[in-house]
């Protein structure tokens, strides 16, 4: 029988298993470290390090537990869908903010054509909601919108409006549209400027939300496409290969409360209007002001009002783009960091579902975890520096030395355990992909394993760099610095060495200083810290090298061999629009005939 809501029993079991497993793993790691550290007597630094290990391990184990839940989640019963005529009216919302208009509007043309190609009678309109601040880009937007209208014969069903002030950023942009025009439609497909969705997928989402009156939001799992650089391709491979399993695990624990990632989702407009009017938080940015990571909050508010928020990971044909280099990744991450830390103010918001609060905690933890590791490293250096020299002859007049209890095996066991929590989920996902045949799209067994190992090596190399960027972001937010809302770069991502040096030289100096300090204060730890310190020293080189094009066969993904129809359509529109480039000073209305 078709089911619209995840079973409460299964959700509770999944949550209990994930919490119990992760807390047990963390407690075990903390205890092992306490025994190791207490071999020469219990000191403050031992207790501190055991506590830090507890929290760090809990976070790693939480990720591993999510993956295991995703791997073991049973096939969900088919969800209800309207098979006959679609009654509801839908608007596809495309918020834009200083994006390249030609590419963005070509995406809309492709999606509109794809919807029409389904030959399903449904009212699906488009609304471009511009928050663009640059007048030149805004003029271009009007020009390309005219071209879009002419090409798709879109008058009366394609709309464009630009706000004078971008109050509330993306969330405020959507809110203003819903408040002023929302009653004209029943459902809204919310996209990002880089989103692409197949027409079939959009129609299927409408069928599903129409069949479930309590369903307020249906999220798809977008696949990353279009990456060309080493960094972008590696992230694209990792997202395509691992994310479906992690997302299924996440959905198992979130149950009826999410997740919502802010785009590539359909919402019931009435529910959205009733529940998702976001207030300004008291105080100044970064903790006060407009809510930055609004998607988590909107999912929590819908759940608070009794609506169902659901991830349908079986829906194919949903795409987005990812950052092409480490700097763009760090810029986006800075925004997410501030948004997630801002959720600390919402932990006590009245009436939220307890799990929604826990989702906020997870989001906060994702950004403070690197600082916990850094604190552990610093405490370990300090502990070695201040260690007391063992007294080999504690008893007077006794000629034979007493050696301290050797706890090295415990330390090695702990390190192996932590490494296992990092790597084991990925290996299990690979095994699952082999047994289910999913590896075919990722270069077969050999190709996918090779890509996975290279990605693992590359992500290990850049992890200390990302940790440095994340730690800086957290400290900036805690010091009250607002990161603003920088527009996304969507170019080819290539950086020259001077750009890489400007962005990453501080990490080099930090890594070098850390290694020298360690060598002076605790030489026995120098070797242990090289895997962290050396990539930091080489940060500019790594940032530069990973921003360059990957080889043609590096990090294969299914979309390389079977190009999704919506991408083909998008490329065709772009090609057509490249041939007849607009005159820079042409008026939009005059050009509407061009198509």
């Amino acid at each position: 029988m078709a089911q619209n809501a995840p079973s409460r029993d299964r959700t509770i079991s999944a949550r209990a298993l994930a919490i119990a497993a992760s807390v047990l793993a963390a407690a075990a790691a903390g205890m092992v470290f306490q025994i190791y550290g207490a071999a020469d007597g219990v000191g403050f630094l031992d207790v501190l390090r055991s506590t830090l290990i507890f929290f760090s391990t809990w976070w790693l184990a939480w990720g591993a537990a999510t993956a295991l839940l995703g791997l073991t989640a049973r096939q969900r019963p088919a969800v209800a869908r309207i098979a006959g005529a679609i009654k509801g009216r839908t608007v596809v919302i495309v918020p834009v903010y200083n994006e390249e208009p030609r590419i963005t509007f070509a995406r809309i043309a492709a999606m509109d054509a794809s919807i029409q190609a389904t030959h399903i009678a449904a009212q699906v309109d488009f609304a471009v909601l511009s928050d663009t601040r640059d007048d030149k880009i805004a003029l271009q937007e009007q020009h390309w919108f005219a071209r879009l209208l002419a090409r798709q014969n879109g008058e009366g069903r394609m709309f464009y409006r630009r706000r004078e002030k971008n109050t509330g950023r993306k969330a405020g942009n959507i809110e203003e549209f819903i408040a002023s025009s929302g009653a004209a439609w029943d459902y809204a497909v919310i996209l990002d400027a880089d989103s692409l969705m197949e027409g079939d997928t959009i129609i299927e989402m409408i069928r599903r939300i129409e069949a479930a009156p309590k369903l307020a939001l249906l999220q798809t799992l977008p696949r990353v496409v279009g990456a060309t650089t080493r960094f972008g391709r590696a992230m694209q491979f990792a997202a395509g290969f691992h994310s479906p399993i992690f997302a299924r695990g996440l959905a198992a624990t979130q149950g009826r409360t999410g997740p919502f990632w802010g785009h590539n989702a359909i919402v019931r407009i009435r529910a959205w209007a009733e529940s998702c009017g976001l207030p300004e938080l008291p105080g100044r940015a970064p903790f006060g002001g407009h809510i930055m990571s609004h998607d988590y909050v909107e999912a929590a508010l819908l759940a608070r009002a009794g609506w169902l928020v659901r991830l349908d990971d079986d829906l194919e044909g949903s795409y987005e783009e990812g950052p092409e280099n480490i700097i763009d990744h760090a810029k986006r991450d800075r925004r997410w960091c501030q948004g997630n830390l801002q959720h600390a103010k919402l932990l006590t918001a009245p009436g939220l579902k307890p799990w929604s609060r826990f989702v906020f905690v997870q989001g906060i933890f994702a950004y403070i975890a690197p600082l916990i590791w850094l604190a552990f490293i610093a405490a370990s250096i300090a502990a070695v520096y201040w260690v007391e020299i063992p007294d080999y002859f504690p008893e007077a007049n006794w000629p034979f030395p007493t050696f301290p209890n050797d706890q090295t095996p415990k330390a090695i066991g702990l390190a192996v355990g932590v490494f296992g929590l990092l790597v084991m989920p990925k290996l299990l996902v690979a095994l699952d992909a082999i047994f289910t045949g999913r590896v075919r799209g990722f270069g077969g067994i050999g190709g996918s394993l090779r890509a996975m190992l290279v990605e693992l090596g590359l992500s290990s190399l850049i992890a200390p760099i990302l940790m440095a960027f994340q730690s800086r972001s957290v400290l900036q937010v805690l010091l009250g610095r607002d990161g603003g809302w920088p527009p996304n770069n969507r170019g080819d991502g290539g950086l020259d060495i001077t750009e890489a040096w400007a962005a990453g030289s501080w990490i080099s100096w930090l890594g070098l200083s850390g290694l020298i300090a360690t060598h002076l204060m605790a030489p026995v730890l120098t070797l242990w810290l090289l895997p962290v310190g050396l990539p930091m020293v080489a940060a500019p080189l790594l940032i530069w090298w990973t921003s360059h094009p990957a080889g043609p066969h590096a990090f294969p993904v299914p979309e390389d061999t079977t190009i999704p129809p919506i991408l083909t359509r998008h490329n065709a529109v772009l090609a057509a629009w490249s041939i007849a480039a607009p005159a820079a000073n042409a008026t939009p209305l005059a050009e509407a005939k061009l198509g």
């Binding site: 509770i12 079991s13 949550r15 209990a16 298993l17 919490i19 119990a20 609304a127 009007q142 919108f145 005219a146 209208l149 008058e155 394609m158 709309f159 464009y160 409006r161 630009r162 809110e175 549209f177 819903i178 408040a179 002023s180 025009s181 929302g182 009653a183 004209a184 407009i269 009435r270 209007a273 009733e274 529940s275 998702c276 009017g277 976001l278 207030p279 938080l281 008291p282 909050v297 508010l301 103010k345 919402l346 932990l347 006590t348 918001a349 009245p350 579902k353 307890p354 799990w355 609060r357 826990f358 939009p588 209305l589 509407a592």
Partner: protein, 62 residues
């Protein structure tokens, strides 16, 4: 007598821009601002509600 009536320059009609023509329909919908700030003392209530979220599952495991 010829009288010339001088009129002010006729105001140029504002040229409709594409944005005017293609603006979304006006169909307002009430979107009340949600309450997200907690009254004093709610922190402990949140902690308790978090514990309650986990308790049924832990009982089941036990």
């Amino acid at each position: 007598m010829n009288v010339t009536i001088q009129t002010g320059a006729k105001p140029a009609a504002k040229q409709a821009t594409l944005a005017d023509l293609m603006a979304p329909p006006r169909a307002a919908l009430a979107m009340p601002k949600q309450v997200l700030t907690a009254p004093p003392g709610s922190f402990m209530r949140s902690v308790r509600s978090l514990l309650w979220a986990v308790a049924p599952g832990l009982r089941r495991l036990g």
